[in-house]
């Protein structure tokens, strides 16, 4: 069970209609790869975020399938088109079944 999992996102507060904005996301998570061993030589079981999805007003921006080769605290930077005012929803899916969600509003002027 991953502890202290905190999602963080950076989205501009406002944009003009149809503008492409840059989004940065990070979630603090150990991303235990399942390759490491503890001091007794036992394999530490895999525990990672295996999927990340960003949507805007229900439309997909990016959907990422994640493998153990992604670093601790998975970070993604990508671009999204903003056609109207609305809400970005960010969802991370954990191996242990947990789902972490974060939202960010953006206003089109």
């Amino acid at each position: 069970m991953a502890e202290n999992v905190t999602p963080r996102v950076r989205v501009p507060r406002e944009a003009s209609a149809g503008e492409t904005v840059s989004i940065r996301t990070l979630i603090s998570h150990p991303m235990e790869s399942g390759q490491r061993r503890d001091s007794d030589g036992n394999v530490i079981p895999r525990s990672i975020i295996n999927r990340f999805v960003c949507t805007f007003n229900g439309e997909t921006v990016v959907d990422v399938t994640i493998e153990p080769s992604v670093s601790t605290n998975p970070y993604f930077q990508f671009d999204a088109v903003v056609p109207e005012s609305g809400t970005f929803t960010f969802i991370w899916y954990d191996d242990d079944g947990s789902v972490y969600e974060e939202t960010a509003d953006i206003a089109v002027n």
Binding site: V21, S33, Q35, T65, E67, V70, V81
Partner: protein, 140 residues
């Protein structure tokens, strides 16, 4: 069963070669299988996709990479020398502003990072870059 000296040397040599080469071949197959699973064995063009990764990464636990493949609907990243070569697959949706993404990955040692983009017309584009790693990032 008795071994002659010649037989013994021969067997030992074969074993040594198998040990030295085995993991390398197994890994190359893993990567080829993973690539084929994504492309279905289609030919790949170079160009039209940019992969930016450092030539030398001090810490294999967190190597920053950037991929940009204008117009791509999906990008997959492989680390050819990792125990599990798949790294991540990015599927871009209707509101993606560009087919570009930056992230941080783990590399077990010096190896090639491969990015393959699937275009909407069903063609594939590939970029590779070799990265040297000072401290590997897969524990142990």
């Amino acid at each position: 069963m008795t071994f002659s000296r010649r037989q013994f040397v021969g067997t030992a040599l074969t074993a040594a070669v198998a040990l030295a080469v085995g993991p390398g071949i197994a890994r190359a197959e893993l990567v080829d299988d993973a690539i084929n699973a994504f492309t279905g064995g289609a030919d790949m063009e170079t160009g039209g996709i940019t992969l930016i990764a450092p030539e030398i990464a001090e810490n294999g636990n967190t190597v920053p990479i950037e991929v940009d493949a204008p117009g791509a609907e999906s990008i997959i990243i492989f680390a050819a020398g990792n125990p599990n070569p798949s790294v991540a697959t990015f599927n871009f949706g209707a509101l993606a502003g560009s087919a570009a993404v930056s992230t941080r990955i783990r590399l077990a040692g010096e190896q090639e990072v491969i990015a393959i983009a699937r275009m909407p017309d069903g063609t594939f584009k590939m970029a590779r870059q070799n990265v040297r790693v000072t401290i590997g990032g897969c524990g142990g």
